[in-house]
Amino acid sequence: MALKAAPGRHLFLVGLSMSSRWASISTALLVAILATYMALFVTPLGDTPDESGHYSYVHDIANGTVFPLFGEAKMTSGRWGYDVERWGEDNRSNYMAQHPPLFYAVATIPYLLADQLTDGKWWISRAPRLVSALSLGLLVFVLFKNLTLIGLDAPRAAIGSVAITLVPNLLHLSSGTTNDVFLLLLCAIATLYFTQFILRHQISAAYWCAFWLTLAGITKMNAWVLIAPFVAIMVFELRGPFKHWLTHSVGVSLLALAGPLWWMGRSFYHHGSPFYRSGSEVDPRAGLGSSSFTELLGDWPVMEWLFGHFLGLIGFSGYCVTPELREFCTGIRMTQIYGFSREAFTWVLLGTLIIFALFLLVLVYQALRRKTRNEPAWGVSVQSFIAVRLPLLPLKWGLLGALLIGGTAYSVIIFISSGVPAQPNGLLQLLSMSAPPMLAALALGLLFFPQQATSRLALYAPIIFLFFGSILLYQIYIGYLILGYPSATQGRYLFPILPLLVVAFGVAVQALKVPRWVLAVGFVLLVFGLANAYLDQIIPFYIESQV
């Protein structure tokens, strides 16, 4: 294992071997350089989602409005491409002010540096993007640390940590002023400490995890959906006498919730609702949609869009913020990724799910043979009490069976309700998108049996993903009831859970001893998929959108 045991030392100071150090630093650096190049020279200004609004938020902070208020904040009139003399002041409301401020506060630093050190708008417009670009590089480094922490060797950890950045959407978003990739980095760091806590039960790791979670919570509200299960699991796993358990359960919970609670309080104070955001005041019952959820899946390609938009939803309003073309502007211009890139991602995702499903089946087999046991006693936790001390095997197997039936039904409903996708291999994509409830149900059932710490870590991932995904589907349904069509079908909303999914896959790879060449084949497919997406589709799309 690459990680040297050093109890009490800060995780980032723990040394890696030379090859691990070289791999993690060089790959992180290369990814950061690529993303920075994209941010500076490839992605047109305004062509990542809502970039005008994100940029305006940064501009407001840099100019003294530390907490621009949603409802009052406006788009920055003098931003790129906006000609005040020709079009007058831009009085559009900046709906991005609904987001908590951490990303924008950090992005203000390069903005102010560019303002001080350069004399043109070119740098000022692009400087906030560097936070996203550097976040992607750091993400590789953090994921690598996490994968070596669970025991993967350097070659496999390098593949696992870089592979996720080869999803075109990630590289695209890392080249824009947007809070998504920065949030992903914060969640990855939180996941690193979460891993350390599950594996070693160091209470300090739980507090560090809570600290990074609270930072994520003041970056974007969808991180709150991650905070709840992470905190619940840490409390579930926390060992020790009752007083110790209670003290630290409260401490970790309070720390993790501090940021979101502050933002909720602010929203309540200003808007009368702790969850206030754009459109949240509308009553879904008075909206335009009337179908049930399953009818929605059949009437609209919701799952197909989610798949496509996770892979890459490129562009936004570059066309409309180019002064020379503004008169032709009719709204946002975006495109999905098609062709080889989509095919490659389909097969890689399917392979990933098969490996993880096999891992779960191995755990079922081990539970049947009663081969698994918890690691040496660290003291009693709720988890160990249920898994080890409750000798109710028939009940546990019954529960696992019931969960599996329920999860499978959930999966089948999604699969059958969704129409046949129009894209090549669309059924394989739909199959992958429908599998998580079944996998999560099996994982939940397995947690009633004694499991190794790394296995438990992997089992938590699909459960949290299902929680996260179900809330996203619910939000899509509510959006449909209001608007009459499914909105928010954004794959990027799933970013906070991605690091734990990568770690869970790493555990499966380690447990099944998946050959390196198998991972290499998937990795090469993603490399070529990304190249194909940019060279064949994204750059031509940008050229057509710009003067």
Partner: protein, 223 residues
Amino acid sequence: MTGMARYWIVGLLAFAILLGWMALREAGQIQNYGQVNLGEKPHPVEAELSPKLSPGVSLRQPLEWDRLVGAPMARHYANQAVCLSVYMATHGGSARGGQLQMTLEQDEVVLGTSQLAFDQLQDLRFESFCFDDLTLGEVYGQPVDMVIQATQGVETAAPSVYFDRAVEGAERVTIGNVTHPSHGIVHRLQIKRDAAQAQFSAWFILAALALLGAVVLTTRTDD
């Protein structure tokens, strides 16, 4: 050299060959960045192949400017050289050894000529005929016909273009002397522009991904 080292050298070699193949494959696409599509991509409703374009077979079709691009956009690009891209069929790559020509004509006066070798054409792709001496401003709104015919080649190794059978308006094709009111050539209007920055970016991305792939694939196991 250990068996493992040989194994990885072969793997890296395969990666390099794949990259080389991809670079070759993408080179043409990157070269075409200088041709910018105007208007929406046509989506044929009832696609149908034209006769094979061997010498003696000609297709003539008036250009419907309003459908191809709006007047404000055309004004904006008035000084750019004009291209027309046509959706081609090479019959599984069998089109070889000939020359395809497109002319733009007004009142039987040839305004511009552009040629593509059969061997350059790719199956089921839009192929661009560019008129370097003709700007969009010079032809936009004028009653201009595009005429496609082969100047060299044989019928057994000739390409076709795709028609859309459900066309409306003026976009009807004349094959030889016979006009087909419901058939139109599937085509797009383009302009030529400097795309050096985008072309450099494409090669930069490919090089960066190659380097990243090589670093990841050569990462050694911890000692």
